[in-house]
Amino acid sequence: MRLSRGMHVTSVAVAVGVCAWMLLPMLWAATSALKPLEETYAFPPTFRVESPQPGNFVEAFRRLPMARFLLNSTWIAGVSAIGAVLTSAMAGYALARFEFRGRRIVGACVLAALLVPSQILIVPRFLQFEWLGWLGTYKPLIVPAWLGGGAFNVLLFRQFFVATPREAEDAARLDGAGPWTVFLRVALPSARPAVVTAGFLSFVFHWQEFLDPLLYLTDFKTFPVSLGLRMFQTLAGTWANLLMAASVAAMLPLVLLFLAIERDLMRGLGVLTSARRGRGTCDPD
């Protein structure tokens, strides 16, 4: 649809306003992080930075082990994301490609896992991890990701494989490759957009996760950056400039990762959101 001139100008103006709103927190944090403390408490507040203090970042990392927190988060989110992609791709692949007795039940389990409200599971899961002796370790955060990787991801991979032709896989099978070889060598590499999307979204999810680490971690040296930042806020919240510096540091890795894979991600999300209602939901092909 072609836009009239007036509509065009209005659209651009609204879009600029929206962008300003979306970028406001990041800009505010970035400028506040560079201010000396008395400037952050100046009235009226401004975006202007009179004398930039890059040393604030160093100081923020010295007050609390922010570097450690970032490393912890990278480890937790990275290992979880790998497991989530691998096991959810396996399940999604089986649901899309194999005829087997009980497939409908497995499909129903995926939907059920999506629908179960998480707050019902909080208490029994905590007791379960306590019983397993996993409290204070990363296992409660990582092991579930390696077992199923989230129903949403399973669904995502299923939709992707359903929408993908299987000729290459059939050819490999005729060449004598077993199902695991076909999956690892042919199907998974061809599912790159889905792998990138699911992997990235899992990484972000585990990076941002707050309640689970809050429940299961005890030693602050093992905290991910979400908990670490909360600790920063309660212990040193009045040092607004340092707190903003720490917040920027906590978001920067995600921003950089996002910008690095943006093209793949947007394509993957496009394919997957449009495949969501592609061919039938739970019916055999």
Binding site: M26, C109, V110, A112, R125, W146, P179, M251, T273
Partner: protein
């Protein structure tokens, strides 16, 4: 498929099945059982079956007590006060927050999706900018927002004051009023403004919903709009009569997700709660957390709270499901 393939299929789904049994189905059953016991901190193993006592304690109303000022709220008329007023308080907070945030995020993401579908140069960058905050909606962004919303030193109120100052001469000249001394919201330091503050924060993270709605918009056949335009339908009519009905499944999906997320909100409440809000941000999930993980660790009671919250959430999403189903029935009924 060969026998070998059949075995392999189970190998492929095995991790998911194990995880589902261990961390979904199992805990679900355990939670139901726990909610019928008096399990608490130190003695979770020696819990005793108490029937529906937890549910009664959570939802019951003590008719002999007088309603007090901080009492049950308007939906419980008459004498008596709840045996646990915080249950009603926290559920009421969650419901109020959901009622505020879902219309805003739904309308906002629809408007943004329609805007970003326009073919304008540079809009692909706008799409990226809109999606990014959705990914960053964690503790870091909450901490930033709490500073941005600081009543005295934050940027939001600075902007409001600037608008007041700019409007002042005009208002003086025309209406003879001055904006001097007009109040600015106290945001996270106020019982009335703390929930709108949260809605404001959420409104910045609609990027995920925008993406879903844009994908749905791409599937609307352009011929429909063109045909309507030939029949003389204006842009507004086309939007209401052609686009929105086609978009209904996606809108239902987004509305469902936004509702469930708002009802389960925990992190924002935990990170942004402040004494001066007088429990204004005490959400149902937060109260559950406090009950279970702060002394005296009433685990059985917390499990019951979880089921109650799930039930209320179910009631809240029922309209969405009904709305989604009506379309399916309509389609099957004939075209």
């Amino acid at each position: 498929m060969s026998l070998q393939g059949r075995g392999a299929a189970w190998g492929f789904v095995a991790p998911f099945i194990v995880g589902f049994a261990a961390w979904c189905a199992g805990p679900l059953a355990a939670s139901l059982f726990l909610s019928l016991t008096d399990a608490s901190g130190a003695s979770a193993r020696r819990a005793e079956y108490v029937g529906l006592a937890n549910y009664r304690a959570a939802l019951g109303v003590d008719r002999t007590a007088r309603a007090d000022a901080a009492g049950p709220g308007p939906w419980l008329a008459g004498d008596g006060r709840p045996t646990d007023p915080l249950v009603y308080r926290s559920l009421g907070n969650s419901l109020a927050y959901t009622a505020m945030t879902v219309p805003v995020t739904l309308a906002g993401s629809l408007a943004l999706a329609l805007l970003l579908m326009q073919r304008v140069r540079g809009f692909s960058i706008v799409r990226t900018i809109v999606y990014l905050p959705h990914l960053l909606g964690g503790v870091a962004s909450l901490v930033i927002w709490s500073w941005l919303l600081n009543p005295r030193f934050g940027g939001i109120n600075a902007a409001i004051r600037a608008v007041y100052a700019a409007a002042d001469p005009l208002l003086r000249a025309t209406l003879g009023v001055t904006t001097e001394g007009w109040p600015v919201p106290e945001w996270l330091f106020s019982p009335t403004w703390c929930k709108p503050a949260l809605v404001l924060i959420r409104a910045g993270t609609v990027g995920g919903s925008v993406l879903i709605l844009m994908a749905a918009l791409q599937r609307v056949p352009p011929e429909l709009g063109e045909a309507a335009a030939l029949d003389g339908a204006g842009a507004w009519t086309r939007l209401r009569r052609v686009t929105l009905p086609q978009l209904r499944p996606a809108l239902v999906f987004v509305g469902l997700i936004e509702t469930v997320f708002a009802m389960q909100a925990f992190t924002e409440s935990y990170v942004l709660s402040h004494r001066s809000q007088q429990d204004g941000l005490l959400f149902a999930a937060t109260y559950l957390y406090r009950t279970a993980f702060e002394s005296p660790h009433r685990l059985g009671y917390a499990a019951a709270l979880g089921w109650i919250l799930a039930g209320v959430t179910g009631v809240m999403i029922a309209p969405w499901l009904a709305w989604g189903r009506r379309r399916a029935a309509f389609e099957e009924g004939g075209t």
